[in-house]
Amino acid sequence: MRMASELAAFDGLPESVTVHVSDVESLLGWADHASHVSTVVIAPVELHRRNLKLRLTDANLPLDVFEFVGPTAVASSVLEAAGKSSKALDRVDRLALLGDILSGENEATGRFRLVFGGEPAQNGDDVEQARRELEVATNYHPVRMRAFRQAVESAPSPIDVDAGDLLHGTLAVERALRRRSEKSPSDGALIRRATRTVIDTDGSAWDEAYPSAERIALVGLSTVPATLVDLFNAITSRCDVEAHFFLRRGTGPFLKQRLGDVWSVPNPGQVVVA
């Protein structure tokens, strides 16, 4: 298993991964009386956690087996179990730091002046959005970064040039954020560190954080970010844990058919920002 993951010798999803479309009922069906948490449910939207608890209590089902959390809480638990810092910049601090970076004269400001026009320091929100979009698509993984670059290069002219400026500006900003902050500069960066920690500890960081977990589930999203795909990949390849993606009814069929391709990268959590 370990070798396979490192070499990305297979394409598609391993057996331990199940993709559900519009099927919350099977998640609710796991409810049982228990003394340990067996199912870690990651719901990035806070109210979705409440909604699931409501459904369970309305149906008189016990909550015992479930832990409902956000993705950063899971990453923090894993990092803390490995004795590592789990601090990350929040959006307000990141935007302040971005403003600082963008008010200087550097590669990022040069590129973004071409992309957005005007003074980059005035476009902090757009720059942050570009950073987010690139992160969701690639998780800054070298294989996906290469694919992204190829997609940029094969775009028709002059879009290839614009997209290239956007890509290089975004990478420059991401690099500057990492240099300038002692904490993880974003939630995504925190999750990547947790992903690498799971791999580096051969799964023991996860096992310590969630000793009785048998399953991990992701719910309520219309896009599965590469960040979370890689985290799930690391956990299932190093630990005896099933992964379940609960996709939504509209986009689920489309995402289901792509998930295997997005999944198949070697060394999940690896980062190249070059």
Binding site: A147, Q150, S222
Partner: protein, 419 residues
């Protein structure tokens, strides 16, 4: 826009809904649409449907919060908005920032000095009527000179004025203490202000609020969020001072309040079982509610195109996933996928009936067309006459909606009969 090289689709062309769907088209703006939606809610309530069995859903509450609030008042319904309150628009936020500005100024002028009183500042131990009555404030404005001076000078001036109301004297003394902008003092001053607002201003609102208790609701929500904001300001401010990222000043504190207040973090508001839930479609996922009223089924509103920094050609290459791009995670919001999901979630949430509404014109008069999402489901259109009766003084529930109610709905299901 050029045609996409190969079509990316998310969706099965036809959808089966498990429950009947009624569609109300209102011929004017979202204000009338909101009235129709609330008239349906009121009609269902009249038929004995408990308020917790109804929810109103919008893709984006920003544009519907105000129209729905107005319509709710007309129908005597108390709404609970499951969305973050826009803190910047609340009195409590203005009170807190007016204090930051006042303490930041070396020599405030009259306006700056009195603004916190205008925003309903109250003292630690309120013996008299607080917040300061408007006529006392007006008198004070009238009598005081306008020119800037240090707060201790304002204090002596007010202290010596024979006309000054005791409460204004008390306030001037408090201000003249000029708290240093240390993190602890900032947390004490701002935290204290929020607490006193909760103890004094919120109950006072409740006493004068009309039946729907909207202002009370807003004041209470603002208090809850401001408490969190003050905590965040304290920790962020200490951290930034330690990192030498900011200087110690009330201006820095003010800036931090502003950037934190403009964030809209996760939606969490307090639940109220007696009030009507009004939520955004993204939050209805996995819920089951007998009656769902979905507003804003208008093209460009639901669905709407998410804005992106990526050129659309690049978006398309990633969505299509040809060649190496297959490894890239596709973002379905680029093609309104999130809106489609939210529409499905809304349909799935309704366990007895779904009522969808839309408007045909914007406030500026431009035409709005029917959402293409509705093309995928079977709907019962509500006739013009039925809609007019719904919006008239009779508030008659359209018979098509009436027929969606279960046969034997007891008149007051919340009360168990004795026998």
């Amino acid at each position: 826009m050029t045609d996409a090289p190969s079509a990316v689709r998310f969706d099965a062309p036809n959808l089966d809904t498990d429950v009947p769907v009624a569609e109300i088209e209102t011929t004017t703006t979202r204000y009338q649409e909101a009235r129709a939606a609330m008239a349906v809610v009121a009609g269902l309530r009249d038929r004995g449907v408990p308020v917790r069995d109804i929810a109103v859903v919008a893709r984006d509450l920003d544009s519907y919060e105000e129209p729905l609030t107005r319509a709710a008042i007309r129908h005597g319904v108390t709404p609970v908005f499951w969305t973050q309150i826009d803190l910047v628009e609340t009195g409590l936020y203005r009170l807190v920032t007016s204090l930051c500005e006042l303490f930041a100024a070396a020599e405030p002028d009259r306006e700056l000095l009195l603004r916190p009183l205008e925003q309903e500042w109250t003292p630690q131990e309120a013996t008299d009527e607080w917040p300061l009555p408007a006529e006392v404030l007006e008198e004070t404005v009238h009598r005081l000179p306008q020119e800037s001076r240090p707060t201790h000078a304002w204090n002596s001036l007010i202290n010596e004025a024979a006309w000054a109301d005791q409460r204004v004297v008390e306030y001037a003394e408090w201000v003249a203490r000029d708290p240093e902008p240390t993190p602890t003092a900032v947390a004490d001053v701002l935290g204290g202000v929020v607490e006193l607002y909760r103890e004094t201003v919120v109950p006072e609102r409740r006493a004068t609020d009309p039946p729907a208790l909207l202002e009370t609701e807003t004041a209470a929500r603002a208090t809850v969020r401001m408490e969190t904001l003050v905590e965040q300001v304290e920790s962020k401010y200490s951290q930034r001072l330690a990192d030498r990222w900011t200087d110690e000043s009330w201006t820095a504190v003010h800036g931090m309040c502003e950037s934190l207040a403009r964030q809209r973090p996760g939606r969490r508001e307090h639940a109220n079982a007696r009030a009507l839930d009004i939520m955004e479609a993204n939050d209805i996922w996995a819920r089951e509610i007998p009656y769902v009223v979905a507003v804003g089924l208008v093209d460009g509103e639901w669905p709407t195109r998410a804005n992106s920094t990526m050129p659309s050609e690049l978006q398309h290459a990633i969505l299509a996933g040809d060649g190496p791009a297959e490894r890239l995670a596709p973002q379905t919001a680029w093609l309104a996928g999130r809106d489609l999901d939210q529409f499905h979630d809304t349909i799935t949430a309704a366990t007895t009936a779904l009522i969808v509404t839309r408007h045909t014109h914007d406030v500026d008069g431009s035409q709005r067309t029917r959402s293409p999402l509705l093309d995928h489901i079977d709907v019962e259109p509500i006739s013009r006459g039925a809609r007019q009766r719904l919006l008239s003084a009779d508030q008659a529930l359209p018979s098509k909606i009436e027929s969606m109610l279960p046969e034997e709905t007891p008149a007051t299901p919340e009360v168990t009969p004795d026998a």
